[in-house]
Symmetry: C2
Subunit: 256 residues, 2 copies
Protein backbone atom coordinates (compact mmCIF):
# COMPACT_ATOMS: atom_id res chain seq x y z
CA UNK A 1 0.00 0.00 0.00
CA UNK A 2 1.35 3.36 -1.02
CA UNK A 3 1.85 5.68 1.93
CA UNK A 4 0.09 9.00 1.83
CA UNK A 5 2.22 12.07 1.10
CA UNK A 6 2.76 14.35 4.07
CA UNK A 7 1.65 17.87 3.18
CA UNK A 8 2.61 20.90 5.25
CA UNK A 9 0.22 23.84 4.88
CA UNK A 10 0.96 27.37 5.98
CA UNK A 11 0.00 30.91 4.97
CA UNK A 12 0.45 34.56 5.86
CA UNK A 13 -3.18 35.55 6.42
CA UNK A 14 -3.24 33.54 9.64
CA UNK A 15 -4.67 30.18 10.68
CA UNK A 16 -8.24 31.51 10.84
CA UNK A 17 -8.28 32.86 7.25
CA UNK A 18 -10.72 31.42 4.69
CA UNK A 19 -7.91 30.69 2.23
CA UNK A 20 -6.10 28.24 4.50
CA UNK A 21 -9.37 26.52 5.26
CA UNK A 22 -9.96 26.05 1.53
CA UNK A 23 -6.43 24.72 1.10
CA UNK A 24 -6.97 22.26 3.94
CA UNK A 25 -10.10 20.98 2.23
CA UNK A 26 -8.22 20.57 -1.05
CA UNK A 27 -5.14 18.88 0.44
CA UNK A 28 -7.03 16.62 2.82
CA UNK A 29 -8.12 14.65 -0.24
CA UNK A 30 -4.49 14.12 -1.31
CA UNK A 31 -2.55 13.16 1.78
CA UNK A 32 -1.78 13.60 5.46
CA UNK A 33 -2.06 17.28 6.18
CA UNK A 34 -0.30 19.22 8.92
CA UNK A 35 -1.20 22.88 9.36
CA UNK A 36 1.30 25.25 10.98
CA UNK A 37 0.40 28.88 10.45
CA UNK A 38 0.66 32.30 12.09
CA UNK A 39 -1.85 32.95 14.86
CA UNK A 40 -2.73 36.33 13.31
CA UNK A 41 -2.48 38.00 9.91
CA UNK A 42 1.13 38.48 8.76
CA UNK A 43 0.61 39.99 5.33
CA UNK A 44 3.56 41.84 3.82
CA UNK A 45 6.06 40.56 6.37
CA UNK A 46 8.33 39.41 3.55
CA UNK A 47 10.93 36.89 4.64
CA UNK A 48 10.95 38.05 8.25
CA UNK A 49 12.00 35.57 10.90
CA UNK A 50 11.70 35.95 14.66
CA UNK A 51 15.08 35.94 16.39
CA UNK A 52 14.63 38.58 19.09
CA UNK A 53 11.36 37.34 20.58
CA UNK A 54 10.25 33.98 21.93
CA UNK A 55 8.00 31.94 19.66
CA UNK A 56 4.90 30.28 21.09
CA UNK A 57 2.80 27.50 19.60
CA UNK A 58 -0.81 26.69 20.36
CA UNK A 59 -2.65 23.61 19.10
CA UNK A 60 -6.11 24.37 17.85
CA UNK A 61 -8.94 22.03 16.90
CA UNK A 62 -12.20 23.12 15.37
CA UNK A 63 -15.48 21.25 15.29
CA UNK A 64 -15.31 20.80 11.53
CA UNK A 65 -12.14 18.71 11.84
CA UNK A 66 -9.71 21.49 10.93
CA UNK A 67 -6.81 21.36 13.36
CA UNK A 68 -3.35 22.79 13.40
CA UNK A 69 -0.63 24.70 15.18
CA UNK A 70 -1.06 28.44 15.60
CA UNK A 71 2.37 30.06 15.84
CA UNK A 72 3.14 33.45 17.30
CA UNK A 73 5.58 34.19 14.51
CA UNK A 74 6.00 34.82 10.80
CA UNK A 75 5.21 32.51 7.86
CA UNK A 76 8.94 31.67 7.51
CA UNK A 77 9.06 30.88 11.25
CA UNK A 78 6.11 28.50 10.79
CA UNK A 79 7.88 26.46 8.14
CA UNK A 80 11.11 26.36 10.13
CA UNK A 81 9.46 25.30 13.38
CA UNK A 82 7.20 22.78 11.63
CA UNK A 83 10.14 21.06 9.97
CA UNK A 84 12.64 21.42 12.79
CA UNK A 85 10.40 21.20 15.82
CA UNK A 86 6.90 19.87 15.29
CA UNK A 87 7.21 17.12 12.67
CA UNK A 88 9.10 13.87 13.23
CA UNK A 89 10.23 13.79 9.59
CA UNK A 90 10.19 16.45 6.84
CA UNK A 91 7.00 16.84 4.80
CA UNK A 92 6.94 15.73 1.15
CA UNK A 93 5.71 19.15 0.12
CA UNK A 94 5.04 22.62 1.52
CA UNK A 95 2.13 24.65 0.22
CA UNK A 96 1.48 28.19 1.36
CA UNK A 97 -1.85 29.94 0.88
CA UNK A 98 -4.39 30.35 -0.46
CA UNK A 99 -3.49 34.01 -0.09
CA UNK A 100 -6.24 36.61 -0.27
CA UNK A 101 -4.78 38.75 -3.06
CA UNK A 102 -2.45 38.10 -5.98
CA UNK A 103 1.31 37.85 -5.44
CA UNK A 104 2.76 38.98 -8.75
CA UNK A 105 5.44 41.35 -10.05
CA UNK A 106 7.49 43.35 -7.61
CA UNK A 107 5.02 42.58 -4.87
CA UNK A 108 6.29 39.04 -4.37
CA UNK A 109 9.24 40.63 -2.54
CA UNK A 110 6.87 41.64 0.26
CA UNK A 111 4.87 38.44 0.32
CA UNK A 112 4.78 36.30 3.43
CA UNK A 113 2.99 33.63 1.37
CA UNK A 114 5.86 33.36 -1.09
CA UNK A 115 8.45 33.57 1.71
CA UNK A 116 6.97 30.57 3.49
CA UNK A 117 7.38 28.56 0.30
CA UNK A 118 10.89 29.96 -0.15
CA UNK A 119 11.72 28.77 3.35
CA UNK A 120 10.49 25.28 2.46
CA UNK A 121 12.74 25.35 -0.62
CA UNK A 122 15.71 26.43 1.49
CA UNK A 123 15.02 23.40 3.68
CA UNK A 124 15.15 21.30 0.47
CA UNK A 125 11.41 20.51 0.41
CA UNK A 126 9.45 21.01 -2.85
CA UNK A 127 7.34 24.10 -2.18
CA UNK A 128 4.47 26.04 -3.69
CA UNK A 129 2.88 29.42 -2.99
CA UNK A 130 -0.71 29.89 -4.13
CA UNK A 131 -2.74 33.10 -4.18
CA UNK A 132 -6.20 34.13 -5.32
CA UNK A 133 -6.63 37.43 -7.14
CA UNK A 134 -9.17 38.80 -4.64
CA UNK A 135 -8.27 40.61 -1.44
CA UNK A 136 -11.73 40.01 -0.02
CA UNK A 137 -14.86 38.10 -0.96
CA UNK A 138 -12.99 35.70 -3.26
CA UNK A 139 -14.30 32.33 -4.40
CA UNK A 140 -11.70 29.75 -3.37
CA UNK A 141 -13.21 26.77 -5.20
CA UNK A 142 -11.20 27.17 -8.44
CA UNK A 143 -8.00 27.67 -6.40
CA UNK A 144 -8.67 24.38 -4.60
CA UNK A 145 -8.76 22.50 -7.90
CA UNK A 146 -5.66 24.28 -9.15
CA UNK A 147 -3.83 23.53 -5.88
CA UNK A 148 -4.64 19.84 -6.22
CA UNK A 149 -3.40 19.66 -9.80
CA UNK A 150 -0.16 21.52 -9.11
CA UNK A 151 0.58 19.52 -5.96
CA UNK A 152 -0.12 16.31 -7.85
CA UNK A 153 2.48 17.23 -10.49
CA UNK A 154 5.08 18.41 -7.99
CA UNK A 155 4.74 15.22 -5.93
CA UNK A 156 5.11 13.22 -9.13
CA UNK A 157 7.98 15.12 -10.72
CA UNK A 158 9.70 17.00 -7.91
CA UNK A 159 11.29 20.42 -8.35
CA UNK A 160 14.93 21.36 -9.00
CA UNK A 161 16.82 22.29 -5.84
CA UNK A 162 16.36 25.95 -5.02
CA UNK A 163 13.26 26.45 -7.20
CA UNK A 164 9.69 26.97 -6.03
CA UNK A 165 6.43 27.60 -7.86
CA UNK A 166 4.49 30.82 -7.42
CA UNK A 167 0.90 30.13 -8.46
CA UNK A 168 -1.78 32.80 -8.93
CA UNK A 169 -5.42 32.04 -9.65
CA UNK A 170 -7.90 34.53 -11.17
CA UNK A 171 -11.06 35.12 -9.15
CA UNK A 172 -13.46 33.83 -11.80
CA UNK A 173 -15.55 30.66 -12.13
CA UNK A 174 -13.44 27.64 -13.03
CA UNK A 175 -15.25 27.26 -16.35
CA UNK A 176 -14.06 30.75 -17.33
CA UNK A 177 -10.39 30.04 -16.56
CA UNK A 178 -8.43 30.07 -19.84
CA UNK A 179 -5.86 27.50 -18.73
CA UNK A 180 -2.51 27.44 -16.98
CA UNK A 181 0.29 29.66 -18.25
CA UNK A 182 3.97 29.37 -17.29
CA UNK A 183 5.03 32.96 -16.66
CA UNK A 184 7.82 35.29 -15.58
CA UNK A 185 7.77 37.67 -12.65
CA UNK A 186 6.55 40.94 -14.13
CA UNK A 187 6.86 44.52 -12.98
CA UNK A 188 3.55 45.22 -11.28
CA UNK A 189 4.15 47.42 -8.29
CA UNK A 190 2.27 49.05 -5.49
CA UNK A 191 2.57 52.82 -5.83
CA UNK A 192 2.32 53.74 -2.21
CA UNK A 193 1.99 56.90 -0.21
CA UNK A 194 1.44 57.79 3.41
CA UNK A 195 -1.77 59.17 4.78
CA UNK A 196 -1.14 61.32 7.86
CA UNK A 197 -3.68 61.43 10.70
CA UNK A 198 -3.80 62.75 14.21
CA UNK A 199 -4.58 60.49 17.16
CA UNK A 200 -6.96 61.61 19.96
CA UNK A 201 -3.95 62.83 21.95
CA UNK A 202 -2.85 65.11 19.12
CA UNK A 203 0.04 62.96 17.90
CA UNK A 204 0.66 62.43 14.20
CA UNK A 205 0.66 58.94 12.70
CA UNK A 206 0.67 57.52 9.18
CA UNK A 207 -1.00 54.72 7.25
CA UNK A 208 0.77 53.25 4.27
CA UNK A 209 -1.67 53.11 1.40
CA UNK A 210 -1.52 53.15 -2.39
CA UNK A 211 -2.63 51.49 -5.57
CA UNK A 212 -1.49 48.75 -7.91
CA UNK A 213 0.24 49.90 -11.09
CA UNK A 214 0.86 47.45 -13.94
CA UNK A 215 3.36 48.65 -16.55
CA UNK A 216 3.48 45.22 -18.28
CA UNK A 217 1.97 44.24 -21.60
CA UNK A 218 3.91 41.01 -22.27
CA UNK A 219 1.38 38.23 -21.84
CA UNK A 220 4.08 36.00 -20.39
CA UNK A 221 4.22 38.24 -17.32
CA UNK A 222 2.47 36.87 -14.25
CA UNK A 223 0.09 39.79 -13.75
CA UNK A 224 -0.90 40.06 -17.41
CA UNK A 225 -1.66 36.33 -17.68
CA UNK A 226 -3.73 36.56 -14.52
CA UNK A 227 -5.72 39.52 -15.78
CA UNK A 228 -6.42 37.59 -18.99
CA UNK A 229 -8.04 34.79 -17.04
CA UNK A 230 -5.11 32.37 -16.86
CA UNK A 231 -3.70 30.62 -13.84
CA UNK A 232 -0.13 31.91 -13.74
CA UNK A 233 2.74 29.68 -12.56
CA UNK A 234 6.16 31.31 -12.20
CA UNK A 235 9.20 29.27 -11.19
CA UNK A 236 11.21 31.42 -8.79
CA UNK A 237 14.48 31.12 -6.91
CA UNK A 238 16.44 33.14 -4.38
CA UNK A 239 19.64 33.59 -6.34
CA UNK A 240 19.75 37.36 -6.37
CA UNK A 241 23.07 37.95 -8.13
CA UNK A 242 22.62 40.19 -11.16
CA UNK A 243 24.92 38.21 -13.48
CA UNK A 244 24.80 40.77 -16.28
CA UNK A 245 26.30 43.49 -14.08
CA UNK A 246 29.25 41.45 -12.79
CA UNK A 247 31.42 42.25 -15.80
CA UNK A 248 30.76 46.04 -15.89
CA UNK A 249 31.30 46.24 -12.14
CA UNK A 250 34.69 44.54 -12.51
CA UNK A 251 35.79 47.63 -14.47
CA UNK A 252 35.07 50.01 -11.62
CA UNK A 253 37.95 51.33 -9.54
CA UNK A 254 37.48 52.13 -5.89
CA UNK A 255 40.72 54.01 -5.28
CA UNK A 256 39.30 57.15 -3.79
Amino acid sequence: MKTQPKILITNDDGIYAPGIFALWEAMDALGDVVIVAPDTEKSAVGHAITISDPIRIQEITRRDGFKGYAVKGTPADCVKIAVQGILDSPPDIVISGVNAGANVGNNIIYSGTVSAATEGTMLKIPSIAISLDAVRGGNYEPAKTVAQRVVHQVLDRGLPEGVLLNVNVPNIPITDIQGIKITKQGNIFFKDWFEGREDPRGHQYYWMTGKIVDPDSDENCDGVALSQGYVSITPIHYQLTCESFLEPLEQWTFDE
Copy 2:
Protein backbone atom coordinates in the same frame (compact mmCIF):
# COMPACT_ATOMS: atom_id res chain seq x y z
CA MET B 1 29.19 75.70 -7.32
CA LYS B 2 28.39 72.01 -7.39
CA THR B 3 25.51 71.10 -5.10
CA GLN B 4 26.12 68.51 -2.47
CA PRO B 5 24.62 65.07 -3.10
CA LYS B 6 21.68 64.20 -0.87
CA ILE B 7 22.39 60.94 0.94
CA LEU B 8 19.66 58.94 2.69
CA ILE B 9 20.95 56.67 5.45
CA THR B 10 18.98 53.86 7.04
CA ASN B 11 19.65 50.48 8.67
CA ASP B 12 17.99 47.57 10.41
CA ASP B 13 19.83 47.63 13.72
CA GLY B 14 17.96 50.79 14.69
CA ILE B 15 18.82 54.47 14.86
CA TYR B 16 20.86 54.06 18.06
CA ALA B 17 23.18 51.35 16.68
CA PRO B 18 26.93 52.03 16.40
CA GLY B 19 26.96 51.08 12.71
CA ILE B 20 24.59 53.85 11.63
CA PHE B 21 26.59 56.35 13.64
CA ALA B 22 29.74 55.28 11.81
CA LEU B 23 27.95 55.58 8.50
CA TRP B 24 26.76 59.06 9.39
CA GLU B 25 30.35 60.09 10.16
CA ALA B 26 31.50 58.68 6.81
CA MET B 27 28.70 60.22 4.73
CA ASP B 28 28.69 63.59 6.44
CA ALA B 29 32.00 64.24 4.67
CA LEU B 30 30.43 63.54 1.26
CA GLY B 31 27.11 65.32 1.17
CA ASP B 32 23.86 66.35 2.84
CA VAL B 33 22.83 63.47 5.03
CA VAL B 34 19.31 62.57 6.10
CA ILE B 35 18.89 59.69 8.54
CA VAL B 36 15.59 57.80 8.65
CA ALA B 37 15.86 54.54 10.54
CA PRO B 38 13.83 52.16 12.71
CA ASP B 39 13.42 53.25 16.33
CA THR B 40 14.45 49.77 17.54
CA GLU B 41 16.39 46.81 16.19
CA LYS B 42 14.70 45.19 13.19
CA SER B 43 17.21 42.50 12.30
CA ALA B 44 15.97 39.62 10.14
CA VAL B 45 12.73 41.35 9.21
CA GLY B 46 13.41 40.71 5.53
CA HIS B 47 11.40 42.90 3.21
CA ALA B 48 8.57 43.41 5.69
CA ILE B 49 6.45 46.53 5.36
CA THR B 50 3.89 47.85 7.80
CA ILE B 51 0.40 47.91 6.34
CA SER B 52 -1.75 46.80 9.28
CA ASP B 53 -0.39 49.19 11.91
CA PRO B 54 0.04 52.94 12.03
CA ILE B 55 3.58 54.24 11.51
CA ARG B 56 4.95 56.92 13.80
CA ILE B 57 7.96 59.17 13.31
CA GLN B 58 9.99 60.92 15.97
CA GLU B 59 12.73 63.46 15.28
CA ILE B 60 15.80 62.93 17.39
CA THR B 61 18.85 65.14 17.89
CA ARG B 62 21.91 64.17 19.84
CA ARG B 63 24.53 66.44 21.36
CA ASP B 64 27.19 65.21 18.94
CA GLY B 65 25.25 66.54 15.95
CA PHE B 66 23.73 63.24 14.92
CA LYS B 67 20.08 63.82 14.12
CA GLY B 68 17.43 61.91 12.29
CA TYR B 69 13.96 60.45 12.12
CA ALA B 70 13.23 57.41 14.25
CA VAL B 71 10.45 55.40 12.62
CA LYS B 72 8.23 52.86 14.32
CA GLY B 73 8.44 50.55 11.35
CA THR B 74 10.69 48.32 9.27
CA PRO B 75 13.77 49.28 7.22
CA ALA B 76 11.71 49.14 4.00
CA ASP B 77 9.10 51.40 5.65
CA CYS B 78 11.85 53.88 6.49
CA VAL B 79 12.97 54.22 2.89
CA LYS B 80 9.40 54.52 1.64
CA ILE B 81 8.39 57.16 4.16
CA ALA B 82 11.64 59.09 3.74
CA VAL B 83 11.21 59.32 -0.03
CA GLN B 84 7.44 59.71 -0.09
CA GLY B 85 6.82 61.63 3.10
CA ILE B 86 9.81 63.29 4.75
CA LEU B 87 12.00 64.52 1.89
CA ASP B 88 10.99 67.26 -0.54
CA SER B 89 12.83 65.57 -3.39
CA PRO B 90 14.31 62.07 -3.75
CA PRO B 91 17.84 61.48 -2.43
CA ASP B 92 20.72 60.92 -4.87
CA ILE B 93 21.62 57.71 -3.10
CA VAL B 94 20.36 55.38 -0.37
CA ILE B 95 22.85 53.61 1.85
CA SER B 96 21.77 51.08 4.46
CA GLY B 97 23.98 49.98 7.33
CA VAL B 98 26.58 49.56 8.57
CA ASN B 99 25.01 46.29 9.69
CA ALA B 100 26.48 44.46 12.66
CA GLY B 101 27.08 41.10 10.98
CA ALA B 102 27.74 39.98 7.41
CA ASN B 103 24.88 39.69 4.91
CA VAL B 104 26.06 36.98 2.54
CA GLY B 105 24.74 33.81 0.91
CA ASN B 106 21.21 32.68 1.65
CA ASN B 107 21.06 35.00 4.60
CA ILE B 108 20.54 38.10 2.46
CA ILE B 109 16.94 36.89 2.05
CA TYR B 110 16.32 37.64 5.72
CA SER B 111 18.25 40.90 5.82
CA GLY B 112 16.52 44.13 6.69
CA THR B 113 19.69 45.98 5.69
CA VAL B 114 19.58 44.61 2.16
CA SER B 115 15.81 45.09 1.95
CA ALA B 116 16.11 48.79 2.72
CA ALA B 117 18.51 49.14 -0.20
CA THR B 118 16.21 47.02 -2.37
CA GLU B 119 13.37 49.39 -1.52
CA GLY B 120 15.53 52.33 -2.62
CA THR B 121 16.21 50.53 -5.89
CA MET B 122 12.50 49.88 -6.42
CA LEU B 123 12.00 53.64 -5.98
CA LYS B 124 14.61 54.10 -8.75
CA ILE B 125 17.31 55.52 -6.45
CA PRO B 126 20.86 54.06 -6.64
CA SER B 127 21.19 52.04 -3.44
CA ILE B 128 23.82 50.25 -1.40
CA ALA B 129 23.71 47.87 1.56
CA ILE B 130 26.84 47.67 3.70
CA SER B 131 27.61 45.22 6.48
CA LEU B 132 30.55 44.52 8.77
CA ASP B 133 31.50 40.91 9.48
CA ALA B 134 31.14 41.25 13.26
CA VAL B 135 27.89 40.83 15.16
CA ARG B 136 29.32 42.64 18.16
CA GLY B 137 32.47 44.52 19.07
CA GLY B 138 33.30 45.32 15.45
CA ASN B 139 35.67 48.07 14.32
CA TYR B 140 33.68 50.28 11.94
CA GLU B 141 36.60 52.43 10.74
CA PRO B 142 37.49 50.32 7.67
CA ALA B 143 33.80 50.10 6.72
CA LYS B 144 33.60 53.90 6.80
CA THR B 145 36.39 54.17 4.24
CA VAL B 146 34.86 51.46 2.08
CA ALA B 147 31.44 53.15 2.26
CA GLN B 148 32.94 56.43 1.08
CA ARG B 149 34.72 54.84 -1.88
CA VAL B 150 31.70 52.85 -3.01
CA VAL B 151 29.34 55.82 -2.64
CA HIS B 152 31.78 57.98 -4.55
CA GLN B 153 31.75 55.53 -7.48
CA VAL B 154 27.99 55.05 -7.46
CA LEU B 155 27.37 58.81 -7.42
CA ASP B 156 29.80 59.12 -10.33
CA ARG B 157 28.64 56.22 -12.46
CA GLY B 158 25.11 55.41 -11.32
CA LEU B 159 23.70 51.90 -11.25
CA PRO B 160 21.53 50.09 -13.82
CA GLU B 161 17.81 50.22 -13.02
CA GLY B 162 16.82 47.42 -10.68
CA VAL B 163 20.36 46.67 -9.47
CA LEU B 164 21.81 47.41 -6.03
CA LEU B 165 25.18 46.71 -4.45
CA ASN B 166 25.53 44.44 -1.44
CA VAL B 167 28.83 45.30 0.25
CA ASN B 168 30.42 43.27 3.04
CA VAL B 169 33.54 44.35 4.93
CA PRO B 170 35.80 42.01 6.92
CA ASN B 171 36.36 42.96 10.55
CA ILE B 172 40.13 43.44 10.26
CA PRO B 173 42.39 46.52 10.23
CA ILE B 174 42.20 48.37 6.92
CA THR B 175 45.88 47.64 6.22
CA ASP B 176 45.08 43.91 6.31
CA ILE B 177 42.23 44.16 3.80
CA GLN B 178 43.25 42.34 0.59
CA GLY B 179 41.23 44.58 -1.72
CA ILE B 180 37.75 44.72 -3.18
CA LYS B 181 36.34 41.67 -4.93
CA ILE B 182 33.24 41.61 -7.15
CA THR B 183 31.38 38.49 -6.03
CA LYS B 184 28.27 36.34 -6.44
CA GLN B 185 25.75 35.51 -3.77
CA GLY B 186 27.01 32.22 -2.33
CA ASN B 187 25.25 29.49 -0.39
CA ILE B 188 26.11 30.24 3.23
CA PHE B 189 23.14 29.45 5.39
CA PHE B 190 22.08 29.56 8.98
CA LYS B 191 21.38 26.01 10.17
CA ASP B 192 18.78 26.79 12.74
CA TRP B 193 16.93 24.91 15.43
CA PHE B 194 14.54 25.78 18.21
CA GLU B 195 15.43 25.75 21.86
CA GLY B 196 12.37 25.02 24.03
CA ARG B 197 12.02 26.63 27.47
CA GLU B 198 9.31 26.95 30.06
CA ASP B 199 8.18 30.35 31.29
CA PRO B 200 7.54 31.01 35.02
CA ARG B 201 3.86 30.20 34.48
CA GLY B 202 4.69 26.76 33.09
CA HIS B 203 4.07 27.61 29.43
CA GLN B 204 6.41 26.39 26.73
CA TYR B 205 8.17 28.84 24.43
CA TYR B 206 10.96 28.61 21.85
CA TRP B 207 14.01 30.58 20.78
CA MET B 208 15.27 30.29 17.24
CA THR B 209 18.99 29.66 17.35
CA GLY B 210 21.59 27.99 15.15
CA LYS B 211 24.94 28.32 13.48
CA ILE B 212 26.38 29.53 10.21
CA VAL B 213 27.28 26.81 7.69
CA ASP B 214 29.40 27.66 4.63
CA PRO B 215 29.34 25.01 1.90
CA ASP B 216 31.16 27.27 -0.60
CA SER B 217 34.76 27.02 -1.77
CA ASP B 218 34.57 29.21 -4.91
CA GLU B 219 36.51 32.35 -4.06
CA ASN B 220 34.09 34.42 -6.12
CA CYS B 221 31.36 33.71 -3.57
CA ASP B 222 30.60 36.57 -1.19
CA GLY B 223 31.27 34.67 2.04
CA VAL B 224 34.50 33.08 0.82
CA ALA B 225 35.94 36.40 -0.38
CA LEU B 226 35.02 37.96 2.95
CA SER B 227 36.67 35.19 4.94
CA GLN B 228 39.81 35.67 2.83
CA GLY B 229 40.04 39.30 3.89
CA TYR B 230 38.42 40.94 0.85
CA VAL B 231 35.66 43.50 0.78
CA SER B 232 32.94 41.69 -1.17
CA ILE B 233 30.61 43.58 -3.52
CA THR B 234 27.74 41.63 -5.08
CA PRO B 235 25.39 43.28 -7.58
CA ILE B 236 21.90 41.99 -6.76
CA HIS B 237 18.43 42.43 -8.19
CA TYR B 238 14.91 41.34 -7.35
CA GLN B 239 14.09 39.47 -10.52
CA LEU B 240 13.29 36.09 -8.99
CA THR B 241 12.22 34.18 -12.12
CA CYS B 242 14.26 30.99 -12.51
CA GLU B 243 14.76 31.31 -16.27
CA SER B 244 16.35 27.87 -16.65
CA PHE B 245 13.24 26.12 -15.36
CA LEU B 246 10.73 27.89 -17.63
CA GLU B 247 11.26 25.47 -20.51
CA PRO B 248 11.03 22.23 -18.47
CA LEU B 249 7.95 23.55 -16.69
CA GLU B 250 6.27 24.23 -20.05
CA GLN B 251 6.32 20.45 -20.60
CA TRP B 252 4.29 19.69 -17.50
CA THR B 253 0.61 18.85 -17.85
CA PHE B 254 -1.85 19.79 -15.16
CA ASP B 255 -4.81 17.76 -16.34
CA GLU B 256 -5.56 15.91 -13.15
